[in-house]
Symmetry: D3
Subunit: 283 residues, 6 copies
């Protein structure tokens, strides 16, 4: 509920970025009432409408949403109908489309990876990373959840993840985990990024709650996962590194608890949508 407030405030900032201090062109339709059909131009999973509807409503529009976030849309489907002041509608059109298209792109790719991975490993979780677009973190994490994924850390402040660079500065996995256990609150899990079995076991022995296997082949992943499980059945194992819808099945078959993918946010394609507007008499 609350994130809606956060999102609406952000949508305002995005609108200002586009329409600061005003829209020169749309003045030509001042006084005209309009109806806009939000149209999908390809199939996918919807994300972002949860925020767009209250944003438009507060601007005075009447919005009829035919779908909710996380539902699939098909090519040509009318996702929503928006009625109200024509000048304002044309001013907000691009801001709204830019957000919906990007978030739906992320949700669609996440859903694809989730379905492919769960088909072979029903308990695996697909997660995003912190490789998000600067300024859009909360939205993109939301889109991953809408797609059925796990958002992973929102930021550096909410869980401990010891990465290769931390270890490089401290000299050993053990030293890094020990320090983390000392400075971290009891409310935080400690995860360690490793790329081989030896480091994985060192992390587990030092008390890590989770292991992030980065940049290993599916075969290597399988070997490490099995050995870690043998040593400590409660440790969570995550794999990452260049995983996309194309190779996610191979990694899912390796048996991890979690598969994380930067692709979902840094290189995904937007889902094309458009707004088809016509004049109306009343709204």
């Amino acid at each position: 509920m609350l994130d809606v407030e956060f999102a609406v405030q952000k949508l305002w900032e995005f609108l200002r970025e586009d329409a600061y201090p005003e829209d020169l062109t749309s003045r030509i339709v001042r006084g005209v009432k309009a109806e806009g059909i939000l149209l999908a131009k390809s199939e996918g999973v919807l994300a972002g409408l949860r925020f767009v509807v209250p944003f438009l409503t507060r601007l005075g529009f009447t919005v009829q949403a035919n779908l909710n976030d996380s539902e699939r849309f098909s090519k040509g489907q009318e996702i929503a109908v928006i009625r109200g002041d024509g000048e304002l509608l044309l001013s907000v059109e691009r801001t709204v489309l830019n957000l919906l298209m990007r978030l739906s792109g992320i949700a669609s790719a996440t859903r694809e990876m989730v379905e492919k991975a769960k088909a072979v490993n029903p308990n695996v979780r697909i997660t995003g990373t912190r490789k998000t677009t600067p300024g859009l973190r909360a939205f993109e994490k939301y889109a991953i959840e809408v797609g059925g994924g796990d958002p992973h850390r929102f930021g550096l402040y909410d869980a401990v993840l010891i990465k290769d660079n931390h270890i490089a500065l401290l000299g050993s996995v053990r030293e890094a985990v020990m320090r983390a256990r000392k400075v971290a609150s009891f409310t935080k899990i400690i995860e360690v990024e490793v790329s081989d079995l030896k480091s994985a076991l060192e992390a587990v022995e030092a008390g890590a709650h989770a292991i992030l296997l980065d940049n290993v082949s599916p075969k290597e992943a399988k070997e490490v996962i099995e050995e870690v499980r043998r040593v400590n059945g409660r440790v969570i194992v995550e794999v990452s590194g260049g995983i996309t819808p194309d190779n996610v099945v191979d990694y899912a078959l390796a048996g991890p608890d979690v598969i994380s993918s930067g692709y979902l946010t840094h290189s995904v394609r937007a889902k094309d949508m458009s707004l088809e507007v016509k004049p109306i008499n009343v709204c």
Copy 2:
């Protein structure tokens, strides 16, 4: 010069998004001095370092940049070397990489389209659109310029572009252009989006400075461009609609002044980079 200040302030906001209120993990390297190598993991065109260097410098780092924005980097090239406080370096790593990777992705794709198009039509301009990531408009427009493109409108406030939806609300191209000429400042150009010759000519006759041919085939584009040129040699003609590096040559051969591409910002892939960190004694 000024945009650097704007960008540095934005980088602060992006860092806050990731590290609010602080980085739980990097505390484990408190007091360690570090050197980080910014490494390219594929080839491309660099964009964003112009803002990252002063950002890091103000945070107390020493930065040695081996490349400038708009220069090409090859896979494995050391783009920059950063020295300073290790804890802080690991805290800013992801924010910096996220920006550089995305902007370099845009600049690289733009450069590719510019080179392909100019090879067959030396005077054509490649431009972005307003289909940018919410909140990143100024950065993404910058990356397009770095790639050799034209930024087109920054927002709804700096030029008049009458789109299909404006025309739909007013009933005719002529009416729309007439209204725009009345309300727009003499300092603004008036461009009109059309998809056929008839509308294009109507816009030109009504006094438009530029025509945006949207969603036409290269063949249709060629016919409209030639006829518009015949009627009025000063009108600028832009083509758009699903143009990517794969089909840009076909459109360039149609002879437009400008080719615009939403792909450059809404669906481009980031260029992979990493930061390789090691401890040092002094910085």
Copy 3:
């Protein structure tokens, strides 16, 4: 429509400037309902009520506006009637009056210049400059439009205007225009400030879309305008430099397309208004 949102947010900031963190005096009328008559104390053209009405409405007042922006008011005319909480009304009174008085001052002076100039040169446009009050740019540009003027550039970001200082740093008008054509988007016009015929022609030949003749007499202006027109009939010619309602006719007779005046924003007198308040039973 959108600018109303922008303006209302700014009005909040202006109110905070006056009433931070609260109004010590108006507490003495807590609980009293009031009606306030917004009264003109001289004649003029109204500007700003478009923003003041929604601002007051959101604060819970009922507002009955007897005039719209751009309409004339006479001395003693009741511009609007405001009803609601007396304490709050007295707290916002000065903020609202300060804005209305200043904007109406600008709109009135603009209207005067527009009417005088068009009487002798029906196609001429009167425009403001960037010599606006710091922080009030968008409001003052709006007041100029309300007065019948052209707002000219909103800021350095929306059109190219090469001024004497740019030319001084580059050595020649030609060099400056050439550089601008290279770095500016195709969506921007290029205007050049000059003060003699030779420079004007150099700018036109280099490809400038508009010429700003600064600090010339009406007689000199006439000569340059005629010669520029002879060479290139499409170039827009603007004159500026110390132009006020007192001498605008002389410049209008010289035949420019545009007359710009810094006086309209940096030295105009406010239009006096007051709020006459009385207690009421219900609102």
Copy 4:
């Protein structure tokens, strides 16, 4: 000292208003070093340089100030010399001039009124009002002080001033003063606006510390002042209402402690200044 920080932050906002997100034109002088002479184009009293110098210094400029705020400048005098990056200098030029011109206009008018009034009434104070430009209150109050005036209330939060509208809602001067004495902190003075002797005496008897005589002739003012003084020698008497440099002497002769003038901020003319720029080799 502190207000400098406040002012520099505001100057940043003013610059953003003009140069958001960047200056399209000044890019043509990228890389050129420049020297700018800040030149007075009429005589007056300087105000604002105290804030402009640190603002420019932090932007990387070297500034040599030949005058301090509150000193007089003559027509053609070189107020300051600024050296540094040419592109940035042209980007900040207008923001700096707009502030200096307006504040110096206010300081100059204040100085004129102070000198005229004190020539006939050496102990009188000239003060501003809250009729300031929205958003510029602190700057304009500063300019009044620089001109030798008293800033009066900064806002509704720092002293009690019971105006005609407060009295209209409460029914009597006595009631208003009594309520104010009850709710106001002991740290605040209570001033009451009146326009006749009867109300003035009622306010004094109720315990007001100061009387604001509004919209009375100099002759009426004199009579009320003398009678109030006779009744209570400690009460401060202020006069206001249409007082400008033209009639200030008449009011000063009436013997008030304070003369306040809205003209100083709502209708004063800016002092013309310019920046003359030339290229240099080093800065």
Copy 5:
């Protein structure tokens, strides 16, 4: 009235501090409607509900307040009943309680001191100081007023208070007061902090409106107060320094006009309250 707007905006910031970017736990009750009883867990004076009610209302809750600020509550009393979305209610619970508990703690302690002091010295005022919690000044001053106290200065901007450190830098009380009379507006009172009779008399002679007797015993206070009164009956005398509910009567008996206490804001205990929530069918 106005301060409500200020406070609601602040409450938003406080909520963001706790729930940024969202509440992970309360998602588990998504869709559940709830009723929450705001319960007092000890007796005291209520403060803060004036702001909490509109804050909750704008979030969509229905609030039934059984008490107003400044009224006493007893242990176990139901202060208010809140109905609405359960997820959101649990997200705002702590923010609302944190504010109400702290402000009610301050109001209760103030009321205790006011009642004790007035029992022996009916005209004395109890005031707070500037020793408030950073960021909460306006709220804490409000709580003092609600408790029956005088807020004293809100900040360094609204009255002159010459403290020991000012005098230490200038060498004498006389010099300090003389300078203050010169630079301060006529709308400001001048108060001087002293700790002995000699300095008190020096301040009075130099023209101070008020004396702050700091860190003296009740006996010393009495002597100074009587002597100052003898010399000048209009000067306000304030005492301060380690005054709490435990010793306030001793100081009140010394006869000051004002007693100020930093304890009220820097060391007061919060009043315990809780929110008891249950599911409901409709709200």
Copy 6:
């Protein structure tokens, strides 16, 4: 490192709250150089100087710190010496003292509880709660860490804590935990607040990582802790509810992993400090 930047920015806001728009009194010492001794007026543990030093340094002061945060100070000890502009020093004095006094109060109370608890239960952690002062969360959590405590959750966004009100809305502990496991990221721990053994065991069986025993006596706590440990040795047990330095030993003896205390932030007394200022010739 980063939190210093965050804190310095906040200190600016706190200063603005006190000195907006400027300090009326300290102008009387304009031009005087000063040295200020930061003096402890009771013993305690220092917290906050880590942020105050860079804040003062950026304002131009030279600061010599004799102690670091987390070190003990004795009554009368000179904590730091600050040299620089006298006017500015007196303007920032109260802001700096307010922060240091409050944070040191929290750190001192935390240290006391930590030492008492660890004397009887060496592995127990003392933690704060979310009952912090609105707007000061990050500072108060920091002070708890400086005192040797564990900060617990920073906000609702970084760990799952199912409280009594969540359970009240869902009907059962099991249902609440099950839902949390479904919606929470794998990176978050799930803690459940209970007040009896039955609920504790239900939570453990449902998969909670931690149990918060709220409002139980030390004896009850002991019984639940032992039984929970018997069932599942890995579950973390936290106790809370009215725990202060006076009763912390009793609870520590019950054997919990964690003791949390709202007292540390909602009702702690500030540690008294002062700044003793004198004039100097150079700084």
